[in-house]
Symmetry: C2
Subunit: 438 residues, 2 copies
């Protein structure tokens, strides 16, 4: 693999070298173009640095709305945007679609299959994905939701269940096909369960002749003693009531002990037969800690200091879901988009300070609130001082998410889509697709 060492910058075939060398300017390499990575890149706008953003996908994903793709509410292109489009006008940024293979701290190199990219400052923001707590074999029968690919796969499974139920002549089989199990009572699980219940009761119900889609059974399983554990208990209770209002069975204090194509087994010995089990329980950080040989917590997140550095490397930052960060009060900073954004902005400021020889401020997380939507006109919101639930929370949720959607055109289209969906009880993207279909 070619290594573009400092020495190579001046000499060598320009086309081969110039792109990734900093032309003497400090080189900032950002791994991952999620909320944290993008915030860091944007925070360095105009700075006299050469930024390389590396992501293995070509799109930035608006994770909070991904469940709507999985439940046929929105199209992938409405929650994802090409990274290079977002950063197109920021001239000090280069975007590379590459998979990181290792990081050489001694040589200060990020190595991908095709390249070795040198850095002066490294920002690791590679996020997290769902974890099966050592039961990776469950992945096939209980897919999780992290990528566009996951979402279209889950969408196909949900819609296919109804289609197959319409065809079958076996009553028992039909019941299994019309049973949906969501594992994990965090925001994603709650949103998925609510959206599936609405899809069944309000949307597809009109379109079938032999099944009563509204009779579909939607079960939300949570190992802990309440759903939305990050929320105050009162809001968890409200969320549960709203879910139950949509006809979702909420089974808390009930861990899943086994999971296969037949359905799930619960800790209390119950078996729920289902052809569509979805995983929203627990996440595991990316390999970043391994790459960096850094100490990690149980969720695989790299332990960082209050400057978001790993020990004895004040030029290597780990942010977002990849980092285990403690708040002033000692509580962990939550794994949510706003936290990742704040860290990204902070690191951008820190790098400017380091370059200027100024002191670097420690990172302070400002909690702006927690939101979770349950369905049409149903949501819960916790802003510390005041709390909302029901319609008002749902409105806040919509406005907030619309507002933070990257890119005007997406915002407009999503707004129209939501408007039409709200008025018509329609879902825009009810497609069972498979790139291998022929």
């Amino acid at each position: 693999m070619r290594i573009e060492a400092e020495s190579a910058i001046t000499g060598g075939a320009p086309n081969m070298i110039r792109p990734f060398a900093g032309n003497g300017r400090p080189r900032v390499v950002i791994l991952g173009a999620g909320f944290g990575g993008l915030a860091a890149a944007m925070g360095l706008k105009g700075a006299d640095v050469h930024i390389t953003v590396i992501d293995r996908r070509n799109y930035h994903l608006f994770q909070p709305l991904l469940y709507q793709v999985a439940t046929a509410g929105l199209s992938p292109a409405q929650v994802a945007m090409p990274i290079r489009r977002i950063l197109s006008r920021q001239r000090n940024v280069t975007v590379l679609m590459q998979r990181v293979e290792r990081i050489d701290k001694a040589m200060q190199l990020v190595e991908t299959a095709d390249r070795a990219i040198p850095y002066d400052y490294l920002i690791v923001a590679t996020g997290a994905r769902h974890a099966y707590f050592g039961h990776e074999e469950w992945a096939e029968s209980a897919p999780g939701l992290k990528t566009i690919g996951d979402a279209t796969e889950i969408r196909a499974r949900i819609l296919s269940a109804f289609e197959r139920a319409e065809v079958t002549q076996d009553e028992k089989r039909r019941e299994v096909l019309l049973t949906f199990v969501v594992i994990g009572g965090g925001p994603t699980g709650v949103e998925m369960a609510g959206a599936i219940a609405e899809l069944a009761r309000k949307v597809v119900v009109r379109d079938f002749r032999h099944i009563d889609a509204a009779s579909a059974r939607v079960v939300l399983v949570e190992a802990g003693n309440r759903i939305l554990p990050a929320m105050p208990a009162c809001l968890s209770a409200m969320a549960q009531r709203q879910l139950e209002g949509l006809g979702v069975e909420v089974l808390s204090t009930n861990a899943v002990t086994h999971c296969d194509a037949e359905g799930v087994m619960l800790a209390d010995g119950r078996q729920i037969r289902s052809s569509c089990v979805l995983w929203a329980a627990g996440i595991m950080a990316s390999k970043a800690a391994k790459w960096l040989g850094a100490e990690a917590d149980r969720a695989g997140r790299a332990m960082v200091d209050e400057r978001l550095n790993i020990p004895s490397h004040d030029n290597i930052f780990v942010i977002g879901d990849t980092a285990a960060v403690k708040n002033e009060d000692g509580c962990p900073v939550p794994s949510i988009a706003p936290a990742a954004k704040q860290m990204g902005k902070h690191v951008a400021r820190a790098i400017r300070a380091l370059m200027a020889g100024d002191p670097v401020e420690p990172f302070r997380y400002r909690h702006r609130g927690n939101l979770a939507t349950i369905g049409r006109k149903a949501a819960v919101a916790d802003f510390g001082r005041f709390r909302l639930s029901g319609y008002s929370a749902w409105l806040v949720w919509n406005l907030a998410h619309l507002w933070f959607l990257v890119g005007f055109r997406n915002r407009l289209l999503v707004f129209i889509d939501w408007g039409l969906a709200y008025l018509s009880y329609e879902r825009s993207a009810r497609l069972i697709t498979d790139r291998h279909e022929r």
Copy 2:
């Protein structure tokens, strides 16, 4: 496999039988929910029949716009709509997502993996897909465009080529990555080549740092002596000029003799090295003729009489791209959406006539015109009496396609998308997705 014989209609477990029996009403089974199949189903609206529409996908695809999905202009959900949504309000229709395995003409049964569905009238409208003229091994390196899955796969290949070109440091490799070959000079090939050239020169060009996307080479290869052979020669020439204006190399009278991951070999001995070869040459009808044991032409289309029946079966109709139909003047009816729609409507009228004991009119194809778009403000249109090219043809093309898009909401969203894309030179759906990405 259970067979719902007439005798079973009155007795038997209701839930198992009633759905597919006609309750005494004549049972019409329609295979395929493309333009022809849908037109036939809609043409029987209100008729005292029990219609079962069988399609192996859950969506009706607006084929004429599929190339825009493949070139990141539109999202899949904007050119596809759930079949059961479209037919939701037509109470005499049942939709089944099933793959047809065989047809038993003696028993009058359509057999799928799970069911045997009896028919009194059978309408076969299973369309066609691209053919490799006995070189099926080319399919992997030169995918064709027929399904949403094909389109997102092609989109990923096109966008990935630019991404990989941005990463590579090998000049030669970069050239290969920035060479796009479209095989087949029919409407689809012309539209693809034009759209790729525009994508490179107008859209992505701003987003890369190391490559000049505008320098991408787009080659359109046509075995015949001119592109758009179905059009008058003068319009073919205009189309070629407009393509060349977009920087597309048009190589006519030049068949492809070999095709692999390295690129293509042409009849004149030339080799074009390319990492992205797309197939738009020739189609092959579905298995319908085989299922029916009917005589077929070279393209696999069932030979039908002027009533669109196969010989000695006046209750079995074959329509659309699956049928070889001669016009009054003896010329073959073209394989285009309007023709399929006309056939579908005709068959619906024929079935009503047969039920009423009235004479059945022969099918007469009315040619409304030919349209092909080349790019922004560029298209050709042939309406027999008058012909258009350039901007005016492009406007007609847009209005026509917008108008015929199934479903108001899609129409509105596509309109907005096109508007924004036109104003901003943006493409809404530049996503490299893979349902197996993890």
